[in-house]
């Protein structure tokens, strides 16, 4: 079974309002986002909000295009392009946050997109916790995740938080365990760990 199918199947077993931390390797990245956006979200008819703090959303969009993933129901919050001074032409499905340190603005943009989606169920992907940790200290990051995840739970939204395998500090692991229902490592057979 491919990683994409495996991820989609595992996510399918979670109820709405779930928060899942997904520990992935770089070489699995595109299989994982295809599994989430093209299989899981499409099957559940979710409006997807993709928050990127690691690479500009244009790069992700280009990759999705290559993978032939339909992006009509995918919205991006990009908090890295402006700080890299590389926004260029603005995409109609992208909202830009000035800096990954503006965590409140990031929450506000998520709220905005959820309101724009009307009553539809949402999936919010946070890509990724490691890059947010470069720009923010662990205390403010924990507070941010706690508020964001609980707010999304109250709106029956799924939250998926990416973490780069091998780049997690002990504090980050504790933080993810605290706010998420489940932490999963993507292997050939995806494994669940205690939440």
């Amino acid at each position: 079974m491919s990683v994409a199918t495996l991820i989609a199947e595992k996510l399918d077993s979670f109820p709405e309002s779930s928060a899942i931390a997904l520990r992935i390797r770089q070489d699995q990245y595109f299989d994982v986002i295809r599994g989430i956006l093209d299989i899981f979200a499409k099957k559940k008819e979710l409006e997807s909000i993709y928050v990127t703090s690691s690479i500009p959303c244009q790069s992700i969009m280009n990759a999705l295009q290559v993978l032939e993933v339909d992006t009509e129901h995918i919205w991006f919050i990009d908090c890295i392009s402006q700080v890299m001074m590389s926004v260029g032409e603005k995409h109609p499905h992208a909202i830009y946050v000035e800096s990954p340190t503006m965590l409140e603005n990031l929450m506000l943009k998520v709220e905005y997109l959820i309101r724009k989606a009307g009553g539809k169920t949402n999936l919010v992907i946070l890509d990724n916790i490691n890059s947010l940790a470069i720009h923010n200290n662990i205390k403010i990051l924990s507070e941010f995740l706690h508020i964001l995840v609980n707010n999304l739970r109250s709106k029956n939204s799924y939250t998926i938080i990416f973490s780069n395998e091998g780049f997690e500090s002990e504090e980050m692991t504790n933080m993810l365990n605290l706010v998420c229902d489940e932490t999963m490592t993507v292997e050939e057979e995806t494994t669940r760990e205690a939440g």
Partner: protein, 253 residues
């Protein structure tokens, strides 16, 4: 506890701004006169306009009195709200009036008003509110009106009498106050906040080079409310609010 229960039983005027209504435990107590104060570019006018648009959408006739900027110009720059429709104005649910035009009609052309002229101005505003059945009023800005009142006695008298007349008519009002960013008080003359039933402060908070728009309710008679600082965003779906993160590292503000 009894006092608190009684306060929370007061009828509410829901602002329609979800975050603010949550902060205020359901909305502004109906008939309150609220000072909305802050420096330029902090979202005072947008907040007040949204309060009126939500009011007119829920069949509460609403009135915006502009003192400094002509209404035509203001309407050209209004945020294209998803919930705003020009028919609100043509249907007589949402009104805009330029106060300088009212001054002219009343013959109040002096740069400084005396006690009697303050009375004439209050009566004129009250008549408009009564005739149009206004339930929500914004005066933007009260600071500009106060420029003509000069003395603290006149300003106190004006806000006290105006607030009382509007409250009797069940009209909930927001008075916009302009202050400079460095100001440590909530109004230019220092008396407005003492007389108003509520004070909502908007501001800019700089944190490590990032500039955040903030909102804080420091006073609201007739309801329990949060006094924490929130970060706001002005969007086409209206004002959005989230708590200001502290993270043990936030400086200033």
């Amino acid at each position: 506890m009894l006092g608190r229960d009684a306060r929370d039983r007061r009828e509410r005027c829901k602002t329609g701004i979800e975050g603010l209504d949550n902060i205020l435990n359901g909305g502004v107590p109906r008939g309150n006169t609220v000072l909305v104060t802050g420096s330029v570019g902090t979202g005072k006018t947008s907040l007040c306009l949204e309060f009126l648009v939500h009011g007119s959408n829920s069949n509460e006739p609403s009135l915006y009195i502009s003192v400094t900027e002509p209404c035509d110009k203001l309407l050209k720059n209004i945020i294209p709200y998803d919930f705003f429709d020009d028919s609100l104005m043509t249907d007589g649910k949402l009104h805009f009036i330029d106060l300088p035009t009212v001054y002219e009609r009343l013959g109040l052309e002096k740069a400084e008003f005396d006690f009697e002229e303050v009375g004439i101005l209050i009566s004129a505003i009250a008549s408009i509110v009564r005739e149009l059945g206004i339930k929500r009023l914004v005066i933007d800005s009260i600071t500009s009106v106060c420029y003509r009142l000069k003395s603290q006695e006149n300003i106190r008298d004006f806000i006290l009498k105006l607030g009382s007349v509007l409250s009797e008519m069940g009209c909930t009002s927001f008075l916009v106050s302009e202050i400079s960013p460095a100001e440590e008080r909530y109004s230019l003359y220092g008396v407005e906040e003492a007389i108003a039933d509520g004070v909502i402060v908007t501001g800019n908070l700089e944190r490590k080079g990032d500039l955040l728009r903030t909102l804080q309710v420091v006073k609201m008679r007739g309801t329990m409310h949060s006094r924490a600082k929130y970060v706001l965003d002005l969007t086409t779906v209206g004002v959005l609010l989230v708590p200001l993160l502290k993270g043990g590292s936030a400086g200033g503000g």
